[in-house]
Symmetry: C2
């Protein structure tokens, strides 16, 4: 009897929550192409972008990736997409590695700018619905790309229904201001501190 | 001349950074199966887990997903993995939806416990290298699963080289304590607040 009363109480409570939630969700009717920023020092900025790429491929939404910094890494995500899904997802590699690897600022700048030119063409392409600009925040933070150009393009030239995701730590405040969806990946605990190296499947 | 001097200064600085970084990375030599927690109210907890699944498939690491809460959602990630990669990635659906959808606490508990039994078998399987327990934090927070059982299993029975990722908001502090890698996805800005609904490719 008590158990039945508990179950009834739970159901009543959940029905109220559901009704309130349904009312709230009924006000969320619009669709738009989002400007999404994943930033912060924690893990998951790029991998979350690639998780969304997986969703796009599942829904037959043509998509694209421009990788701005980790170009010389042989990442799992790159080989996966190039090998299995090259017709659904365009993959552009710009940049040749972390700034301390290339040691040549002019080359870094040229690579970032070439990547941005390709990014603009992909975003403008009416077929493409989702573009991941992986680690572009690093290129913006290092002034490899002019912030105002990137902001103006996203604001004025991005097709209204195209989603663009910009990842990398230290996102510029002006970009955060412009974006629709911003997540800060906050580092709580990281195994590098225990002497654990970057591992397959996890970091690359 | 000034430009050359600048380039030289940049190269010298980057060489120092690289040397320091190489020394630091040389101390990171160990590998181990990680307990990874993605929590917080921001976006990217599950999608980052699925991005790691993409990396695992790319590296031929057999992997598995147990979805604890969103079972009745027709998610892109589920159809993608079941359709294309059922031999590389086992996919178990437990749970029938959010707690306010099912409105039946006993059924929720039974579903979560059945999911946990399957999760344990997958984690114990010596072939499987990476297991994503999607939204298990919700099941733990609602006491659908006994926290002590989950902690004891992860501590004592998880094979040392198997990675386990646990997602969902409100991760229990004891789980955070046990984990190797913890990220809090912090909500900075979300388009629901602008009346934008959940969209394909982004949320599911």
């Amino acid at each position: 009897m008590t158990q039945n009363a508990d179950a009834t109480r739970h159901r009543d409570k959940m029905q109220k929550i559901k009704a309130a939630r349904d009312r709230m969700m009924a006000t969320k009717t619009d669709e738009k192409g989002l400007i999404i920023v994943n930033t912060g020092t924690g893990k998951g900025k790029s991998s979350s972008g690639f998780g969304m790429i997986m969703r796009c491929i599942a829904h037959d939404m043509p998509c694209a990736v421009v990788q701005f910094i980790k170009g010389n890494w042989s990442t799992g995500e790159r080989s996966f997409l190039q090998h299995h899904f090259s017709s659904q997802c365009r993959f552009v590699v710009s940049g040749e590695g972390f700034t301390w690897e290339t040691q040549d600022r002019d080359r870094d700048i040229a690579a970032a700018q070439a990547g941005w030119e390709q990014a603009k063409a992909l975003i403008r392409d009416p077929e493409i619905r989702f573009v991941l600009l992986d680690e572009i925040n690093i290129a913006l933070r290092n002034d490899y790309l002019a912030l105002d150009d990137v902001l103006a393009f996203l604001r004025d030239e991005k097709p209204p229904m195209t989603h663009v995701v910009l990842t990398g730590r230290n996102a510029r405040p002006e970009l955060i201001e412009l974006a629709d969806l911003v997540t800060e990946m906050t580092l709580v605990k990281h195994p590098f501190r225990q002497g654990i190296k970057a591992q397959k499947g996890i970091e690359f």
